[in-house]
């Protein structure tokens, strides 16, 4: 019997980008711990989760979209729209949260569904369609109101202020739990369901996926729906965090989400990447902000410059990586 063992590397190359991001996170944490007093505590990491739970949820949705090779620019606006709808419905007609939240999630998913359908059915670039979605959602925010609407619903505020105590004086907010549940469910879906594998296949080669008989159309529409749902959920979490609805919330969050996904090692051309990477990407972004606030003398705009630099390095790595595997 012929045995064939051809060009197989000993380290699974597919985990390499995630590993790099993980090392980056650990290194940043260590440097922070050495430089600043009171940095090297578990609560610092938990705070990153608490402050970025909504971004994590949004980035999960974005990961689905980018894995198919698409992009969703509308997420930031949909987040803002969700805070706005929640706040106005609770403040004005005084709807209860258990009615408002499902409604918001439904609207977000609906927007995603429509965008996905247009992208698929009319073969228009995702970039443009979701750009229109971005304008639409922001515009809807402003038609609801131009000012910030505070949220005073007692159930809502109570939930928002809940602290879940862990061991050793550490705590998290319920939003973190929700975000982690979303990550868990999403990771399961991507890894253990046919839909999840179809997402990877579509991103790897849409043409091949079609020829292999996979439901490419349904997959594409679904990922945008998921992204819409995640954005809406992110909006709900943001309104817990901010306790207000405002049309200027989450401006530019689509860029943060894309950056987190890319830094997490997901290829922007689709087909390769892990949710764990996205989680690490969000953590890296959050830790940059934490370090800058600890540094004190460094101003907030360094965040953007650092994110830009990280993006550059990771995109360059991806480029080198894909150029090598193609040969």
């Amino acid at each position: 019997m012929t045995t064939l063992t051809l060009g197989r590397t000993s380290v699974p190359a597919k985990y390499l980008p995630v590993l790099v991001t993980g090392c980056l996170f650990v290194a940043m944490f260590l440097v922070g711990g050495i430089r600043y007093e009171g940095f090297a505590t578990g609560q610092i990491i938990l705070n990153v989760f608490i402050d970025n739970g909504f971004l994590l949820v949004v980035a999960v949705g974005m990961t689905f979209v980018i894995l198919t090779g698409g992009i969703d620019l509308s997420v930031g606006s949909v987040v803002a729209l969700s805070t706005m709808i929640s706040a106005s419905l609770m403040a004005g007609p005084g709807w209860p949260p258990y009615l408002v939240v499902p409604l918001v999630l439904l609207i977000g998913s609906g927007l995603g569904l429509v965008m996905g359908y247009i992208i698929h059915a009319f073969d228009i670039q995702p970039f443009i369609v979701t750009l229109a979605g971005m304008f639409l959602a922001r515009g809807l925010c402003y038609t609801i109101g131009t000012d910030s609407i505070p949220i005073e619903d007692p159930t809502f505020t109570a939930f928002a202020q809940t602290r879940i105590d862990l061991f050793a004086d550490m705590w998290i907010s319920p939003s973190v739990v929700i975000a982690l549940v979303v990550v868990g469910v999403a990771a399961y879906v991507l890894h253990y369901t046919r839909f999840g594998r179809a997402v990877y296949a579509t991103g790897g080669s849409e043409q091949s996926a079609l020829l292999m008989g996979l439901p490419v159309a349904r997959t594409k529409v679904t990922v945008y729906t998921i992204s819409g749902f995640c954005s809406a959920l992110g909006g709900v979490l943001l309104s817990f965090y901010m306790l207000s609805g405002y049309g200027l919330h989450a401006v530019g969050m689509e860029l943060d989400a894309i950056a987190a996904v890319v830094i997490g090692g997901t290829l922007l051309t689709g087909g390769t990447g892990f949710l764990l990477g996205t989680v690490l990407g969000v953590l890296v972004l959050g830790l940059i902000q934490t370090i800058i606030s600890f540094e004190g003398t460094l101003s907030s705009w360094w965040t953007k410059i650092f994110i830009g630099l990280l993006l550059f390095v990771f995109i360059l790595l991806q480029r080198l990586f894909s150029a090598r595997t193609r040969r």
């Binding site: 019997m1 012929t2 045995t3 064939l4 063992t5 051809l6 060009g7 197989r8 590397t9 699974p12 190359a13 597919k14 890894h191 253990y192 369901t193 046919r194 594998r197 179809a198 990877y200 296949a201 991103g203 790897g204 080669s205 043409q207 091949s208 996926a209 020829l211 292999m212 008989g213 996979l214 087909g271 390769t272 595997t325």
Partner: protein
Amino acid sequence: MAVPAPVLTMSGIGKQFPGVKALDGVDLRLLPGEVHALMGENGAGKSTLIKVLTGVYPADAGTIELGGATVAFGSPLEAQQAGISTVYQEVNLCTNLSVAENIFIGREPRRFGRIDWKRMRARANELLSRLELSLDVSAPLSTYSLAIQQMVAIARAIDVDARVLILDEPTSSLDADEVEQLFRVMRRLKEEGIAILFVSHFLDQIYEISDRMTILRNGRLVGEYLTKELPQVELVAKMIGQELAALERLHGEAKVFARPLIEARELGRAGAIEPFSLTIHEGEVVGLAGLLGSGRTEIARLLFGADHAGTGEIAVSGSQTSLRTPRAAMTHKIAFCSENRKADGLVPDLTVRENIILALQATRGWTRPVPREQQDELVGKYIKALRISPPNPEHLVRNLSGGNQQKVLLARWLILEPRLLILDEPTRGIDVGAKTEIQRLVAELSDGGMAVLFISAELEEVLRLSHKVEVLRDRRLVAELPNDDSLTTDVLMETIASGGRTS
């Protein structure tokens, strides 16, 4: 030997495209446990027939019977479910996914709705060992060579209890060892009683693996033959056909040329063409003859710098040079009309004038535009000389017919006044009138001192124009024949078929 009942019978298949009759009354039958070769030159209708069979296109006429029942598939998926699987030349798998997934995606084994990775890997291993392969099935497919990817595609194809396996040019990018491995797998499947339809341009491979063959020409059936009963020369003759062209017989002649223009020594590129040596003289028309996929286009691309040569050297007018880019070749006044006009020839959105002027403009750079009067003069001259119709320089090239598009491409290079003009199938897919015009033009140009490398699938045409003919087979330059009176299409076919071994 009794012939078993065919698994699949296609009879009287016809398929019409706007302006083209792609298939006309074609029959094909596949017997279980046999490798059946589908043969034919470019445009013979092989791919159309396969696409009709697998449900990509509906047939306009004729019937398909699978296992005795009449079928008509609406999509490749339906065909697959009925037991007809196809593996294409381009591996249609997702290289970012693991080997096991590529075999099973879309029908992964599940437990409680959750993909059972363990069972999937086990079944993948099982299936691959049926093909005598042992791979790490959890590694991404991209870590394996194209040959292995091809086998994985076959594994995917046979997992669904295939009765018919179609292999569409699976060997065109494989090396000899890999082909051998593929053939082992094919023989194994044959033993299991699967009917295999095999398309390849390599005659050696056909004679090594196939039991029976069906030959198509110009969308029509030439016939079905047992491979061992059909000598190679006859096969080539049947594929190319002996069309008694009504065109004037403009036989080329063997001449001795004094001044070498291009001298290629052991020029080659792995996977494309084996090292070859070739000298083209000023004023000489060199014909390249060989079947599709024999390396004709590859030679042209190397001489134009469109691809990098892996080995060998090249001299232009006696001095060493390297043609690393088309730009470099252009400075040596080499021009190349590519075979695929749409993909790498014309810019469909630009006008006739712009497409004609493009290469000249490229040599001048964007800061020195060709003056409009000069453009109009040049373009007008060539529209007239080549009889491009409609004779409107502001017409978009996309709206022109194939023959006129070809003339536009020719005009682009002619205004550069090249010393070597490479023409890759310049007369393919264009009508007879345009064909003779282009042939006459080539003769005129070479009389004027221009060297021409002329590639054509039609041997008649090659003979009519060339001073000498280079014969290619299976990516090798096998013979160089002066075009004297003893050279006929029969001799050429003989040479192609034998690979130059007997002559």
